[in-house]
Amino acid sequence: MLRKMFAAFAAGMLAAAAADATTLIDTGTPDGSVAGFAVDATDFLAVEFNAPTAWRVDGIGAYLVGGNPGDHFAVSLYRDAAGLPGDLIASTPVSFLADGWNQVSLLGWLLPGAGHYWLGLEGTVSETVPGLPVPDGSFVATAGALTMPGATAFSDGSYMGYRRDASIQFGLQVTGAVPEPASLALMAFGLGLVGVASARGRRR
């Protein structure tokens, strides 16, 4: 009984820490007025953003049309390196479901600190996911005190890798949290309690 209460308390700590999830980037839904750009196994797109503090990225949504259900593309998070995507921080496959917003959640990616980063849309399976129409306006953040519109870049599969190109616009949503020190401490405490509960369970 005591163990269950302990575990519930630990879970509550984590939930409280995660409760501040918010919209970090939202370009708005594309209006479909322009056909857009191709994303496939050789054609990648990326956008730069400026995180004023160490964000936690929980969910990413990309507005895609024209893919085949069951295809996958990847969303990748990079450090900035001289104005282009640099070292890879994290990457995850996303299943294309249907035309429109295709999302991945429960990422829990922690940015190492404030600074400039890049999010890339990349084909992981050799399938085309074309058509990223121009959003209403341009890259405009609705939250997060971003420096937007951000720079954009693309790769065409050549040896040159990512190259900056100002013409690219596409639909992107990022949700997560802007953890404050107290939240981070609470999360660490909660994780610690979960660990203790787990260890006690194993000993029994």
């Binding site: 056909a35 750009f37 191709a38 054609d43 050799s126 074309p130 693309f154 190109d165 369970g201 029994r204």
Partner: protein
């Protein structure tokens, strides 16, 4: 040995995981079965470079030694192939002008090494060899190359821009193995090419030279593909409309549902001149309106789609409001809309006029056909979707 509680926990986790996996598989299976693609093919034309008047943004002085020698726009053509392969195209129809050619692939002036090396015959074979080398990797990685003859392959400019028997023979010598290697086709595409007709059908249109492997056709499933030589010897600037009509009729009678025709020259020249300026002169089959109309009537009758090149530009049009003409002649050759010309800078012409471009076509199980045109700018920017169209079934 696991503690009982741990075992129960493990069993629950296993059960939940299995359920989640089953749901995921079911959802994916349902999603994948909505309307799957049964065949994808791509098409593009005109990758040859020009030794005299290259594109304004790629003057000869900056062309690589490689492209000066073998007269290809390697950078654009290689990138187009990369994207086409990423799009999983099983077939790539190349709509002509893969080589500069345009001479006479005939006897050399003498048998001296100097004369042989300087001959048109050597130039043709050298340029064909380089192009075949460029497409060889595609053939090894799932894309069968289907070549279409263009005027640079079959005509001689010094001989009045007339098709020559010697050049038709050089075509067969350098492309004939592709037209059509049914065993290799099956191995690459995964399905058979059936009702293959690559013989000499010149008599249908009273043509004087052997047209085998120049105009030909085959089926893949319920899709019928026909290639037409738009510059046969003695009848330049015409498509073999009589043969095509007979060919499409036969295909329809055996159950073909989709008709795709590939030729080099457009039936209707796309005018890229800005509004108010003189229209672009006729440069395709419309040089001879009567035969052109006969050809287009066949296209309309069978609700076919006509893919072509020749003009180094992108355009999709429905000349009579129904059948599509898809012009994808910007595979690397110097753009027709010249850098700095009003057509390219006035803002009155589409900004796709100077885009290297191709089309990818997907046939779905339901019979729906999606045509998507892609391209990238003359400054080699990101790959854009230029235009999309869906053919009603």
């Amino acid at each position: 040995m696991l503690h009982p509680t741990g075992r129960h926990f493990g069993q629950r986790v296993l059960a939940i995981s299995t359920l989640a996996l089953a749901i995921t598989l079911a959802v994916n299976a349902e999603a994948a079965d909505v309307d799957p693609v049964v065949l994808t093919f791509s098409t593009v034309g005109d990758s040859r470079q020009d030794p005299v008047s290259p594109d304004g943004t790629t003057p000869l002085a900056t062309m690589s030694g490689q492209d000066k020698t073998w007269l290809q726009n390697t950078k654009a053509w290689a990138r187009i192939q990369r994207s086409i392969q990423a799009q999983k195209a099983s077939l790539l129809f190349f709509n002509g002008d893969m080589i500069m050619g345009y001479g006479l692939a005939g006897p050399t002036k003498s048998t001296s090494v100097t004369d042989v090396l300087a001959s048109d015959l050597m130039a043709f074979y050298r340029q064909y060899g380089f192009w075949r080398g460029m497409v060889a990797p595609a053939m090894e990685t799932g894309t069968y190359i289907v070549p279409v003859p263009g005027n640079h392959e079959v005509q001689s400019k010094p001989l009045g821009k007339k098709a020559q028997v010697e050049n038709e023979n050089a075509w067969r010598a350098n492309m004939g193995d592709l037209i059509l290697d049914t065993a290799r086709f099956k191995a690459i595409v995964g399905v058979d090419a059936t009702h293959v007709n690559v013989g000499n059908n010149a008599a249908f249109d009273s043509l004087s030279s052997d047209q085998s492997q120049l105009s030909y056709s085959f089926d893949v499933g319920d899709a019928h593909f026909a290639v037409v030589n738009t510059d046969p010897v003695g009848n330049d600037n015409t498509a073999p409309a009589a043969w095509l009509s007979s060919d499409l009729s036969s295909a329809k009678s055996r159950g073909a549902q989709h008709f795709f025709v590939f030729g080099h020259k457009p039936a209707y020249t796309y005018s890229y001149a800005p509004s108010g300026a003189a229209p672009t002169p006729a440069a395709g089959l419309d040089v001879k309106p009567g035969p052109r109309d006969n050809f287009w009537n066949v296209i309309e009758t069978y609700a076919a789609t006509y893919f072509c090149g020749h003009e180094h530009i992108f355009n999709m049009m429905q000349p009579k409001g129904s059948a599509w003409q898809v012009l994808v002649g910007a595979g690397g050759s110097p753009f027709d809309s010249k850098f700095g010309d009003p057509s390219a800078t006035s803002g009155l012409s589409p900004n796709t006029d100077r885009s290297y471009s191709w089309a990818t076509v997907s046939i779905r199980k339901s019979g729906k056909v999606d045509i998507t045109a892609y391209g990238f700018s003359d400054s080699y920017g990101p790959t854009q979707v230029l235009k999309q169209a869906t053919l009603a079934h």
